[in-house]
Every structure is written in C-alpha cells, then in structure tokens.
C-alpha cells in the first residue's frame, strides 16, 4: 500500500501542509515499512490550475490513498475521477502522526470537496 500526503518539508517528521494543490511537498509513504519518498509539489508554484496539476501528479504515482488538509473543487473532481480515496488530517501535526492515525482508522474520509460548495471562487484562479 502507498499513501501520499502534503507536507511542509521533505521528511516523515515534517509538519503537514494543509493545502493540497499548493502544499510544498508530496510525501509517498508505505504505512507498513514507513519507507518514504518526497517530491516537490508541481502545483505549488503554478500560476493557475494547481489542484489539477497536483492531482495529475498524484494519479501518475500509482498510489492508493491521498491525505491532505483541504481539497479544492478541481482537485476533488480530478481525484474522484481517478477513484482515489481522500482523507483529511484533522488535528495531526506531523506526517508520522498522520500515518499512525490513518492506520488506527482515526482520519475522516472526504465525501465532497472540502470547501467546494461554498467557495468556488478560489478554484484554478491562483
């Protein structure tokens, strides 16, 4: 199994980054062995379409679960199309904690875009 999550720096002990499209790093973690690999988020500095760009990258990594603090409407639509389950951090602080809480079944799975219904304005426009 492989999990991808957004982090502030490239390490398992890094703080999480609550943004999906513009989170600084994407960390791929094997929850059983805790092996990890970090990638700079290609969406982080995009002038527009950050969520789609990050989602496209995530989909190309052949992973099973996505965890972040927020999924915008475009990112949600894209990850949903790829049938990837999305979870949100809740009160976790570090990537390591997130993995532990995921394994314990304590993270909330996302059913709709986290802010999509009430905040369409920020999608894809910077």
């Amino acid at each position: 199994m492989k999990i991808i999550l957004t982090t502030a720096s490239p390490s398992l002990d890094s703080d999480i980054d609550p943004r999906f499209g513009r989170g600084a790093y994407l960390l791929i973690v094997d929850p059983d062995t805790l092996e990890w690999q970090a990638f700079p988020n290609p969406g982080a500095s995009a002038p527009g379409g950050a969520g789609v760009q990050a989602a496209q990258f995530v989909c190309n990594q052949k992973i099973d679960v996505v965890i972040s603090g927020d999924f915008g409407p475009h990112a949600y639509q894209a990850l949903n199309a790829a049938s990837l389950p999305m979870y949100i951090y809740g009160s976790s602080v570090t990537a390591r904690q997130v993995i532990e809480r995921f394994k314990a079944g304590q993270l909330q799975r996302v059913g709709v875009a986290t802010r999509g219904e009430c905040d369409q304005g920020h999608s894809g426009v910077g």
Partner: protein, 305 residues
C-alpha cells in the same frame, strides 16, 4: 490612431479621462484637430465596464464571445496523456481511465486537439461574455465587452472586442483599460500608439504608476501622465510631489492636471462627465489630444523634432 488609457491603481480616473477625451474630440471644433471624425470608444474593462454610464450609448449590435474548449470522446480516448502533457494550463487531466476537462482553466489554444493521436477531441464554444456596440448622442461610437459573472478569463473577450469593433478609416480609437498591470491590461493596450497613464498624487498612485510605466516600456508604447485629484491648491497642505519627481526622472511628460475638487466628485457621482461639469475643460482635452499626437510623432520620427 489608438490611444489607450491605463493607470495601475484603480479609481484614479481612467474612465473620467477617457470619456472626457472622447467627448471633447466629438465636440464642436474649437481648434484645428488632427482627427477626422468623432472617435470610437472601446471599453476594455470587461470585468467592470462603466464607460456607458457617461457616454450613454444605444446598443444596436450584440454578439456572444468565448473560446473553443476541448470535448473528449471517451469511446475513442486511449488515455495516453498527450493532451494533459501539452496543456500548460492544466485544463485537461488524464486520471486513470477518465479524461477530464476544466473549462475555467482552458485558454482555448487548441494544443490538446492537435496532440491527440486518436482524434478523440473535438472543440465546442464556451461562452465567456458578450460584445455590444452602438452610437451615442454625442457622435462618439461606442463598443464594449462584458465578461460573464464567475468567469475568470477576461483576455479572450478583450482580444475579440478589439477585432470586432472595426473603426472607420482614420477614426481615433480610445481604449479604456482595466486597473492593474496584468494580462487584461496588456491585451487592452497592446497595439496602441500612445498610452495615457492616469494617476493621483498618493503613495499608492505612484507605486502603481511605476508598474504601468514598465508595461509601456515593455510594449514599446510612448506614454504620458495625467495627474488627477492634484493637490496643488493653496487650501491643501499635503502636497505629494513624488509623482512629479518620478515623471521628471523618467522623462514622462505630465500632460494634464485635474484639481482635487468637491464639485467634480459630486458631478461624477451623479453620472455627469468632467466636460459637463467643467465645459471649459473641452479645450484642455483638445490640447491634450494635440500633445498626444505630437508624442506619437516624436516616438516615430525622433530625428525630425
């Protein structure tokens, strides 16, 4: 000749100056103006057009405009991802066995259609706004673009407005741009013969004027400055000379000054134009036009002056 009016900072008086200049060129000739007919006014501030409030056109023609966006035939799509690789705006993504299009991100460039090896992409019109045009009682021809609410992309509407407006031979065109210095402003002022920059003597006015001047230099358009709400009056002790200092340092001519005056503010709030509030300014705007023509000639034939 095309004269574009821009500012950087919003609310400095672009539309006041642009509409006053248009009305002054259409007014009875007090001077021998090098313009053959009343001008064409193009409201290129398509996100919040307001020139019609002052020029009061009657719109006789209307056309919907938009961009061509991709439509994917999933039966033909092999999900190879070439469309997504080609798109620099991330408006199309291949996610497993689905190809999704995000219309709000699409710029309508057609790269995905060209790159698709399966011929699975066709293009359909995504309407972004409307173009409208018609005459005004002053003789000024008027055209504007209106971006639909919720659409983020103004540039295609501005580009098509400029193509559609179709000035008469020799007719002066006055382009009212939006505030800022981003893509819509660049699209509006591109191709202009002269850029009139309207500013105010405040730190914010100066800051954005500096940015707007960089746009003019980058596009190689000669520019001059109008200082609105000029505080060079005995009753005001907060004169802000840095705008004048900047213009002098940059070699930018200050072509006109509009005083900071309650009567002007009240008149404009009631929908009146500067030339209606102060009819004597018609002469000043006609002189402004002559200075602009001289500025254009100077930029074209610097050796002859």
């Amino acid at each position: 000749m095309i004269i574009a009016v821009a500012s950087g900072k919003g609310g400095t008086g672009k539309t006041t100056i642009a509409t006053s200049l248009a009305l002054s060129l259409a007014a009875d000739r007090k001077q021998d103006l090098p313009a053959s007919s009343p001008p064409l006014f193009l409201d290129c501030d398509v996100e919040a057009p307001n020139g019609h409030l002052f020029l009061k056109p009657v719109f006789l023609e209307r056309q919907e405009v938009g961009i061509l966006i991709p439509q994917v035939d999933e039966a033909k799509c092999s999900h190879c991802g070439k469309c997504a690789d080609a798109c620099q705006y991330h408006a199309i993504a291949v996610l497993g066995k689905k190809t999704l299009v995000f219309p709000q991100l699409c710029h309508g460039c057609g790269s995905c259609t060209l790159m698709c090896p399966e011929g699975a992409i066709s293009e359909t019109l995504d309407v972004l706004g409307v173009l409208e045009r018609g005459p005004t009682s002053s003789g000024v021809d008027f055209a504007r673009g209106v971006l639909n609410i919720g659409e983020p992309m103004a540039v295609p509407v501005i580009r098509q407005l400029k193509r559609w407006a179709n000035p008469k031979f020799g007719q002066v065109v006055i382009v009212d741009a939006s505030p800022g210095t981003s893509c819509p402003v660049v699209e509006a002022v591109r191709g202009a013969d002269y850029l009139l920059l309207v500013t105010e003597p405040t730190p914010f006015g100066l800051h954005d004027l500096k940015l707007a001047v960089q746009v003019a230099r980058e596009l190689n358009i000669p520019a001059g400055v109008v200082i609105n709400r000029d505080q060079d009056a005995p009753s005001i002790d907060h004169k802000y000379p840095l705008v004048d200092d900047f213009c002098e340092h940059e070699g930018l001519p200050v072509l006109m000054r509009i005083p900071f005056e309650r009567r002007i503010a009240e008149g404009i709030a009631q929908g009146n134009n500067l030339v209606e509030i102060h009819p004597e300014t018609i002469l000043l705007f006609q002189q402004l036009f002559i200075q602009i023509v001289n500025g254009v000639q100077m930029s074209l034939y610097p050796a002859s002056v």
